[in-house]
Symmetry: C2
């Protein structure tokens, strides 16, 4: 019998009615002839509620205790999903991350999976039961409760699909799939039926919010086909899987944008070997997730280095860069939060070198100034003013004819 | 350094402010020169909230999943208590029942502790940290999450105090201790400074709500002194410990009452050996907790058997008794929910045989009719009409001079 891992996000289990709808869909999937392993997130806004409670109690929140607190959320949703399944006559058994054998390192609040022991899940499947697993959580090699950080439940689902040899991992969410642009910005945006892992990675990295980067990487590395779809319509959504070399690729698949970053510029950096390495090593050690980096050819022995970071990390990044300035012999360190990034993603770009030129022309004709550019083999990203980004997205979506 | 186990009930950790007050008290206790292990219940009404959520999801609530659901509650409160302690500069570590080594049998929703492995707690204490343990929960020998049923957090605290060799187990609650009668019924009721385990057992068994019977039994069997006190006033409360044979005992220590039971009467039971055994074995197998049993001398070869059961178990008890009636050859089975039990408890009763006579006289002078009587060596209980019970309690409290 084929095995499906079905992951349900917070909105999909947001209230008793939604939970019953999820149970109903799981029961149907089983009647359709598949074994099912369910992975659930915490209900709706319950994680936010717990965080607010914690901040009312204390400003001191040791990461180990934060993990203990937050893992209460999935415990509730998975028990409720099991009860709903039981009400439909489907025997279900809930498993915490620890019980499901999700072993992680000890980096609380953003632990990495080091091993998945699926024996209790296999046992439950063998007994004809539906295992319902808490997403987002694991147990460390020190026997402490850990959480996997952002997108953690998707990662749990993909890891279980890989270990259990599932035919696919279905990611149920509140949108019908991955779109050619954010439908709130481009009403004509269409659902993409199929994407390669590489395209999905670049979409996730450049602002697409549907899947977390990390879970897509995991799926690609373990060859787990993903199916992103809606738990509200239950319609087929977007498949993310290995590239099919026999098919011609669309040149551009999606326009993405991201307004969550800020830009830091370190002026007049001496053009000597090792300077950039020193700066970005220090940022990495401070756990700042640096995205785009741009360094120009030097003029008169110095250059300006600009990079983007999540706005939440801006203060920390400034502190690190300013602290290093004397050692580096660099000039002023400035920041700019009013930026945004707009990107084109498409596997067909590899064999179509004119895409970037077209992109720059479209932005120019809209009067959108480009502040930074970075490219990968299947993506082009431009940093622009934040207040221009939606105009840029709409113009690019239309210019590359993505609504058909 | 002496070790104290401090257990905080739901109202004691009911909101962020209460949680900070608890942390403050724990920190003071440490500064006072004691090691502390904290045991917490779920916050305030959170267990009720979870149960309501479950009933909105499904009428089918497998006990294993109910346990998984309810144990989310302590997870939240213990993480928050650790954060509050951390905010005061006290290093604290939370432990689930499983992590604390509370091993139980597999009877979900009312598991029994079969073993306590305190090694992680000892390790934390050795490292100068305060272990904060989830009350009410454990892990079964089948590796499933279990709960200990009513009074479970008290039982957790007493079990840990026994295993860790604590000098006492402090039970913090929202009342200042054990009273000579329910202060809502008898405003003159006074706090009792000291009780023997036996007296506390009889008080708990006859309606005193402050401590669950089971945790008192556990404390007596393991010689753990209990100190029941308020987390609102932090004043000394009621000590419950071994009887001190050198002291003269009060004849009557407390008047208790209980309105949570109902009476079942099986009429015209044939007076043959084995009949009562058959009836009460069947009730035990249905997990009905039978309290008082009264059987009168038979008249003309038959007798009436009456017994009291928790009102929640009344329907089940009636079903069992009626189902057995043909086999037993008994007559009608009737029930009465409008009853209440009033009891006198006191270790000094053993050497004061006149107490029951006085009790019956006091009730008679108040016009309170006695429907059933049962006695132990240190307790006398009378079943009366529910609407007469508060009058009975006040009259007895005054007659036995308990307000001094």
């Amino acid at each position: 019998m084929p095995l499906l891992v079905q992951k349900y996000g917070g909105t999909s289990v947001g209230d008793p009615e939604r939970i019953r709808a999820v149970a109903d869909h799981v029961a149907r999937t089983r009647r359709g002839g598949s074994e099912v392993v369910v992975v659930v997130s915490a209900m709706g806004r319950s994680t936010d509620d717990l965080l607010r409670l914690a901040s009312e109690v204390s400003t001191s929140q040791p990461p180990r205790e934060l993990d203990m607190l937050l893992t209460a959320g999935e415990r509730i949703s998975m028990a409720l999903v099991c009860m709903a399944l039981s009400g439909l006559g489907v025997e279900a058994v809930s498993f915490t991350g620890s019980q499901a054998g999700i072993i992680t390192d000890s980096t609380h609040t953003k632990a990495k999976i080091v091993e998945v022991r699926g024996d209790r899940l296999r046992e439950a499947l063998g007994a004809g039961k539906v295992p319902v697993v808490a997403g987002f959580q694991g147990v460390s090699t020190e026997r402490d409760v850990t959480t996997l950080g952002r997108g953690g439940s998707d990662t749990t689902a993909v890891a279980l699909a890989a270990v259990l040899g599932a035919s696919a991992c279905e990611i149920y969410t509140d949108v019908p799939g991955v779109f050619s642009a954010d439908p709130r910005v481009v009403p004509e945006a269409r659902r993409i039926g199929r994407l390669s892992f590489e395209e999905m990675l670049d979409i996730a990295a450049s602002g697409g919010r549907v899947l977390a980067l990390r879970s897509v990487e995991f799926a690609r590395n373990h060859h787990v086909p993903l199916h992103v779809r809606s738990s509200f319509t239950w319609e087929p959504g977007t498949w993310v899987q290995e590239e099919d070399p026999s098919m011609e690729q669309a040149v551009v698949t999606a326009v993405t944008h991201d307004v969550s970053e800020a830009k830091v510029t370190v002026a007049r950096v001496p053009d000597r070997p090792g300077i950039a390495a020193r700066l970005f090593r220090a940022l990495a050690e401070a756990h700042v997730n640096v995205d785009t980096i741009v360094q120009n050819t030097s003029v008169e022995g110095t250059t300006d280095i600009s990079f983007t970071v999540p706005r939440d990390d801006l203060a920390l990044s400034m502190e690190v860069a300013r602290g290093l300035a004397p050692e580096l012999g660099s000039g002023e360190v400035t920041s700019d939060s009013a930026i945004a990034k707009v990107s084109l993603v498409g596997a067909g770009m590899r064999s179509n070198p004119g895409v970037s030129a077209t992109m720059f022309e479209v932005l120019a004709s809209e009067g959108v100034n480009i502040e930074m550019i970075s490219t990968s083999s299947i993506r082009i990203s431009c940093v622009v003013r934040e207040d221009a980004v939606e105009r840029a997205v709409r113009a690019l979506h239309e210019a590359f004819d993505l609504e058909r």
